[in-house]
Amino acid sequence: MTDEACIVCDATVALPADVELGEIVDCLTCGSELEVTGIDPYALEEAPELEEDWGE
């Protein structure tokens, strides 16, 4: 586990040990969906809005 700062509210967001580039993590403080866009060093961005053709 690594702690990073939420780019929306600056609260601490816990990244799992096996975090993947492209994975989505939720900020438990402000509810933002964050996408992991960098691993070394860690980078977070606000995840893109849901598109209509997304899904299974």
């Binding site: 096996d18 993947e20 580039l21 492209g22 893109p48 209509e52 053709d53 299974e56």
Partner: protein, 288 residues
């Protein structure tokens, strides 16, 4: 094997798959489809060395184009472009199921509000209106009355993108908030689950409760037929139970298996990777 995974957002499902592939020492190339472009004429060196590409795009349009692109360049890809094109569009799925004689709810397509209203009166209320492209139970409507039908169709026709002017209408199946999901590879079930909800829409992505089910021989046969009907591969088959037996309402080509894995007696990502390995063996045998 040297396997490429086409992806954008990494869901829990892709993570399970990636971890399983790496645990088995496969060389995994994550290919974020947002980071690159795809030349019509050339696949490029990186793709040329891959033994298999697994399409895990979250977006069905990307999935449709990129599977076709892989096939154009003779890159082995699962699922196939045919499967993606068939499953990404509910009209095409229904046509394929009907052609194969697979039980599916009565479904009608209309292109104008008047034609849609006529058919909804005929289906009776409630009936179901679905977007032709979409997932996770989004933008589905259970239409309770003629009044509701009129206003909903007007909204869709006025506010919607052109695809929302294709009205996909279906008889409502009384399910008491339950349906079944079977995940299968090449028509052979890996595992199945029942999804239950207080809501009539029972997608796991919407929080339905899931429980493992036994896949009986009737389901096995049905799953094999569905696989053949839509083009085959790793599929998530959605069915409802009626008094007259099962009815298939959807087939998913970029199937999420995290929920199933949490209740199934078998390790689902491991079964998926077994299948990927078997495909790789076949394609290498053919090309050598």
């Amino acid at each position: 094997m040297k396997v490429g995974v086409l992806h954008s957002r990494i869901r829990r499902d892709e993570k399970l798959l990636l971890n399983e592939l790496r645990e088995r020492d496969h060389a995994v190339h994550k290919l974020d489809v947002r980071d690159r472009s795809f030349s019509i004429d050339q696949a490029g060196d990186q793709f040329a060395t891959l033994e298999l590409v697994v399409d895990r795009c979250l977006s069905s349009s990307r999935s449709r184009y990129l599977t076709a692109w892989c096939e154009r360049h003779d890159i082995p890809v699962v699922n196939s472009a045919t499967t993606a094109a068939t499953c990404a569009d509910k009209v095409r799925t229904s046509l394929a199921l009907s052609e194969a004689g697979i039980p599916t709810p009565r479904t009608e397509v209309a292109f104008s509000i008047d034609a849609a209203l006529d058919i909804m009166d005929d289906l009776g209320y409630p009936c179901v209106l679905k977007p032709v492209v979409g997932s996770w139970g989004r933008l589905m409507a259970r239409i309770e009355s003629r009044n509701m039908a009129e206003s909903l169709l007007e909204h869709k026709a006025t506010l919607g993108h052109y695809e929302h002017k294709v009205f996909y209408l279906q008889e409502y199946i009384e399910t008491e908030g339950e349906d079944l999901r079977i995940v299968a590879t090449d028509g052979v079930p890996i595992a199945g689950m029942r999804r239950s909800s207080d809501h009539w829409i029972t997608n796991a992505a919407r929080g339905a409760e899931v429980a493992s089910i036994e896949v009986d021989s009737e389901l096995e046969t049905l799953v094999a037929n569905v696989d053949a009907a839509v083009g085959g591969g790793l599929l998530g088959i959605d069915l409802m139970e009626t008094q007259d037996g099962y009815t298939v309402h959807e087939v998913n080509h970029s199937v999420e298996f995290n929920a199933l894995n949490s209740v199934a007696p078998i390790d689902v990502p491991s079964a998926v990777v077994d299948w990927l390995e078997s495909i790789c063996l076949e394609t290498t045998a053919v090309s050598s």
